[in-house]
């Protein structure tokens, strides 16, 4: 992956009458990366994608694609192609004509078009489907046709608006992997809109989390998961346990944190998200898998506390324990892998809980 910017979104706002769909969005999307726009329903993901595609114009700010400002440039003149949520397969055309639709305008001979269409169909595993009518396709196949139709145009950027949301779980998971592989293979920049955090984590190089028309955080999946900048981002992506805490002392490069339920620890200053005033820290977060129940007396952890199991839920490979820690109002969730020979402890059992300083995230 190169680091060149392919799309620069600068201070983009969009209002529909009284509704502000986007508010001062800044983002740079790099060439060849798989970029996701993640957020709850109505946060403005589709709006941003449509601004990039050229179906709408921003109220404020600019979209620059490949170094060229897109202000006033209509969708048919932009180097982007879209995979629509409804796939938008032309019902009056065959699969091949759908895929070749955009090529008819280019200076290409019939043979060249046919070859390009055949190649594109092969790329999405639909070789030999060219003569099918649009209505003879399954949902997954329609999705592939829509993708082939965009890819065959060799755009600089492919835009995908929740392309997998209409598929069932199994097919969706399979397509996530395939789509990711395909993108890496051809190296075109993909921008994916999704409200499924798991999907975004699996597929993306980087993710922008949008809340109410603003980017809350833009990072790689790993940073997003391990170092969310706010409680809202933390609980939107995966599960996060929150516990009250206070900063008791601030030395050079280190913070002394008092977490009543876990104990007093010293954290590297880098643990506080950028821009967060250490004095305002009131909460810490820790992921369920970062807490361990120490079943064996011999087991040791970096830090330890005790708690009482209040509930368990068994999920095959994992068991989720609700554990009430000392001085806490609410139980935290601890996920434990079900290894051979370990039985599940019942509710009411007193357990030792281990945790590591590294896994603690600070919030205001």
């Amino acid at each position: 992956m190169t680091q060149n910017a392919i799309i620069e979104i600068e201070g983009v706002s969009k209002a529909f009458g009284a509704v502000t769909a986007l508010n001062g969005v800044d983002a740079t999307i790099r060439e060849g990366e798989f970029f996701s726009l993640l957020g709850p329903s109505g946060c403005g993901k589709t709006t941003l994608l449509r601004l990039i595609a050229g179906f709408d114009e921003p109220t404020d700010g600019t979209v620059v694609i490949a170094g060229q400002s897109m202000a006033g440039i209509p969708a048919n003149k932009r180097p982007t192609n879209m995979v629509f949520q409804s796939y938008a397969i032309f019902p009056h055309l065959s699969v091949a004509d759908n895929v070749g639709y955009g090529l008819k305008r280019k200076q290409m001979s019939r043979e060249e078009i046919n070859r390009a269409v055949t190649d594109a169909l092969a790329m999405v595993d639909l070789a030999g489907y060219g003569n099918r009518a649009a209505h003879e396709l399954s949902g997954g196949q329609r999705q592939r046709v829509a993708l082939a139709r965009a890819l065959v145009m060799k755009p600089k950027v492919v835009l995908l608006d929740e392309p997998l949301s209409a598929l069932d779980k199994k097919l969706r998971e399979q397509m996530q992997v395939e789509l990711r592989q395909l993108q890496q293979q051809i190296g075109i920049t993909f921008i994916l809109v999704t409200h499924d955090q798991e999907e975004a984590l699996i597929m993306s190089d980087r993710i922008a989390v949008l809340f109410e028309g603003e980017i809350a955080q833009l990072d790689t999946p790993e940073v997003l998961y391990r170092r969310p900048v706010s409680k809202r981002v933390a609980s939107f992506i995966g599960v996060m346990n929150f516990l009250p805490a206070t900063i008791t002392a601030k030395a050079k490069g280190a913070l002394a944190v008092d977490i009543p339920s876990l104990g007093k620890v010293s954290l590297a200053a880098g643990h506080a998200p950028e821009g967060l005033d250490p004095a305002s820290v009131s909460t810490i977060g820790v992921r369920p898998e970062m807490l361990t129940i120490l079943f064996d007396d011999a087991e040791k952890a970096e830090c330890e506390t005790t708690g009482e199991v209040t509930a368990t839920s068994y999920c095959g490979d994992m068991t989720y324990y609700s554990v009430l820690l000392p001085k806490a109002d609410e139980a935290v969730t601890i996920s434990m892998r079900n290894t051979a020979g370990r039985s599940i402890v019942p509710a009411g059992t007193k357990v030792r809980v281990g945790w590591g300083v590294e896994s603690v995230v600070l919030f205001d």
């Binding site: 969708a75 048919n76 629509f84 032309f90 019902p91 639709y101 955009g102 305008r105 139709r149 145009m153």
Partner: protein, 286 residues
């Protein structure tokens, strides 16, 4: 024969309308066709089957002339109506954002008065002392009333086109409404400007509606009888007027029915051709 529960239910459901259809449609048709093979001998009917009526109809000059004129008028009416209806339906479907229902309602307003009244209104507008002539004279554009604007073929075309406009607008409107708007965005996304997009996506997908409009206007206007009678004058007489004359004044029902059956067959074949052509243009929509 043992029927499944479902087919029994279906049969029960369609039986009443089916009976009604047989009574009201099939029975008269059978009568008309039967009559056309009989012969009228002054006051009584000779029921020996014969093709004589058809022979007379098809060899006679008058049937050919009036049939061709009817088809020509109807063809013009259909073309004008559909061509005018399309932009209206398009505007309604794509540019009216709110209160589409109100607009549709407005379009149906001409239907609140009877067909006959609307024809008389056109007489008032196009007549010798009519609105159009008075207006033109009032503006000083002409010195005396134009007498060629009523009682001829163009008057028939104008009147019929107006009368059938809503029938043409509605099917096209419905077809346009059914077009998924993301298809238009997809076409744009793939490089089409507004004109190409219209020709490659909107029009083919609206084709079923255009086709329905064409047939809805074409079929009944060929056989229209009131309009040519009232605004057509001697040059605007159509096939239905001839049939009517044979039924009443000439007292030759068998010949009249032979004419009716003949024109029906001609209209049916032309409709079939239009339908097939439209299907081809429309592609495999469904």
């Amino acid at each position: 024969m043992i029927l499944s529960r479902e087919s029994r239910q279906g049969l029960t459901l369609i039986s009443p309308p089916f009976l009604y259809a047989i009574l009201m449609l099939a029975a008269p048709m059978v009568m008309v066709v039967t009559f056309s093979f009989w012969t009228q001998n002054y006051l009584d009917l000779d029921r020996t089957p014969t093709f004589a009526n058809y022979r007379e109809a098809w060899t006679g000059e008058i049937f050919r002339v009036l049939m061709l004129r009817s088809l020509m008028i109807s063809f013009f009416v259909t073309t004008v109506t559909v061509l005018l209806a399309f932009p209206i339906a398009y505007f309604l479907s794509f540019h009216v954002k709110r209160q589409k229902a109100l607009w549709l309602f407005l379009i149906t307003i001409p239907f609140w008065t009877s067909y006959l009244l609307r024809i008389f209104l056109w007489k008032v507008i196009l007549g010798y002392n009519g609105v159009l002539n008075s207006a033109l004279m009032g503006l000083g554009l002409i010195d005396e009333p134009l007498d060629f604007i009523l009682y001829n073929v163009p008057a028939v075309i104008i009147t019929l086109a107006h009368a059938w406009a809503p029938f043409a607008i509605l099917p096209i409107f419905v077809a346009l409404e059914r077009i998924d708007r993301s298809l238009l965005e997809a076409a744009e996304d793939l490089g089409d400007g507004p004109v190409r997009r219209f020709l490659r996506v909107t029009l083919p997908l609206a084709m079923p509606g255009v086709l329905a409009s064409t047939l809805i206007v074409f079929i009944p206007t060929v056989g229209d009888f009131v309009t040519p009678r009232l605004v057509g004058g001697p040059d605007g007489v159509m096939i239905a007027n001839l049939i009517q004359v044979y039924f009443s004044k000439a007292n030759n029902a068998p010949l009249a029915t032979a004419l009716a059956v003949s024109s029906m067959l001609i209209v049916a074949s032309i409709s079939l051709v239009i339908f097939l052509i439209g299907r081809k243009i429309g592609g495999r929509t469904q």
